[in-house]
Amino acid sequence: MSAGNRLTASSAAGSIYDLGYRHYEGKRRGRLYAAWSLYVESLRGIWGFGRPMSAKAAPFILAGLYSFFAFLQLAFASTLANAISSGQQVQLFTYASYFTQFGLLLILFCVAQAPEVVCRDQRYQVLSLYFTRAMGRPDYALARLASLATALFLALIVPMIALFIGDVLMKPDTIGAIGDELPRALPAIPACLLIAASMASISLALSSYSPRRAYSAIGLIAYFLLMEAVPAIIYAVAQHGGWTSGDKLVLLTPITSLTGASDWFFGQTLTSDFPATLGPDAYVLACLVSVAAFTAILLFRYRRIAA
């Protein structure tokens, strides 16, 4: 008897919590919100958040290594500041030269993470879930592109901040040093934006053409290596042959163009490695054209892809 009572009591209690299916009456947002949600999820994904530990290894090791040298300089600066007499500076790296010296690590970052951003959805056919929701195909492509560009910008700007702090600490008058140092450091922001946009658009556009990570990664490596080397070689040969307009070929290189463009932001003259006939502004233009072209290639891919 008592057992039966308990049984009915517990099943009644169970039914209190089982509310059955409830319809959703709340707010529904539009396409912009959907694109923003994808952007946030994508940015988290690039850094491996919400994924297993193994997914965090590549982005954090590569971005960490890229920042490492700037922090090394910062460490020197903070410990040696007292030992250094005024006028002397331990300055191994500058804002303008940093990307030139360590940019290879960020190419590896792109090779590792760009396929992660676009191949996964193709490989596991998640695209059909996105494209059957209120999300346009260009929305999808642009949100993914923005997330990779943001991730690259973060990786690029952190060592710049470290360099800035280091340079400030090295001077005896810290407050005054901020005022001195800031105008020299600020061009790093547009320079990093351009580098991030350029590398993100190239690597995402190329990666999106294969659902397999491995093929995308190999394609990216091949592109960056070949496009750095081939135009430079042709230019060198052309110089010997007296073909003067061969210098424009250097504008096709992805990384050399970016270092040339960032020199424009920092108001520096180009080193002798660059053809003397082209000014830094030509590289800025070349990089902007490259961003537009690769974004168009990416959008074209997502206009045609089967969901």
């Binding site: 959703y24 707010k27 529904r28 959907a34 999820e41 959805d121 596991y124 998640v126 929701r133 209120a134």
Partner: protein, 310 residues
Amino acid sequence: MALIETSSLTKDYGTVKALDRLDLQVEPGIIGLVGANGAGKSTLIKILLGLIPPSSGRASVLGLDVVADTHEIRKVVGYMPEHDCLPPDVGATEFVTHMARISGLPRTAARERTAEVLRHVGLYEERYRQIGGYSTGMKQRVKLAQALAHDPKLLLLDEPTNGLDPTGREEMLDLIKRTGTDFGISVVVASHLLGEIEQVCTFLLAIDAGHLLKAAPIATFTQRTPVVAVEVEEGADRLTAALTGRGFKARQEEQCVLLVLESEALYDAVRDTVADLGLPLVRVQQERRRLEDIFREPEQGPAPAAGGVQ
């Protein structure tokens, strides 16, 4: 308002016509969409979702045109594809929440709906584990959950029981039936298994090679036929002869005698004849039509699509 309406909807891939002048008008309910592989089921679903444009003709879902109002349709429709569509390296909760947000639900609402929907489809502790480690049955549940996450008015399910074992199949069918009846969401289930359609659906659309074969409530396909089967353990031949002798239309089929039911007098005649002959009677039963029969009947006329419309 009609749930789905099409008029002379055609889709051709070069020389192959996946859909050929399809005219439909379907009211809300649980709709079974049957046809052999390649009959055009998936094509129809994809057109309704605006994933592929029709070659010609018109289609609308809940009064919204599939070409002009694609985005409006997608807000009120949930889609469960036939193929795998889940990334392996995230948990079900994370994935379904993300998909709910893509459908426009704010963050907290997306979380709440996800928890609720995963409970409805029967995923509990395992929902935090990575999807890659799930069984096929669990993956199918996640696929259904992501389609339900934004509380759609219509669910389009493409082969929802694909790859499931018998138990998983039963559970999935039960879930679909609950979605249609208890949740009040219209469902279109594409399948090539008639048994499943018969079990859960209220309305049937049969297509074959891009043509509409039949469109009618399920009950009309499974109603009684005017045929009575009399099964005996032995002597079916003698029974057939005796009943034919008494003026009934009888035909022997193994241990059964099939009789055309023209009047109630048939039952008395069967009782008397069996008793007279002293035969061991097993059953006397009025036969039901089976859903399979619609695919066996010869086509009536050159344009079966036009005749089948409700």
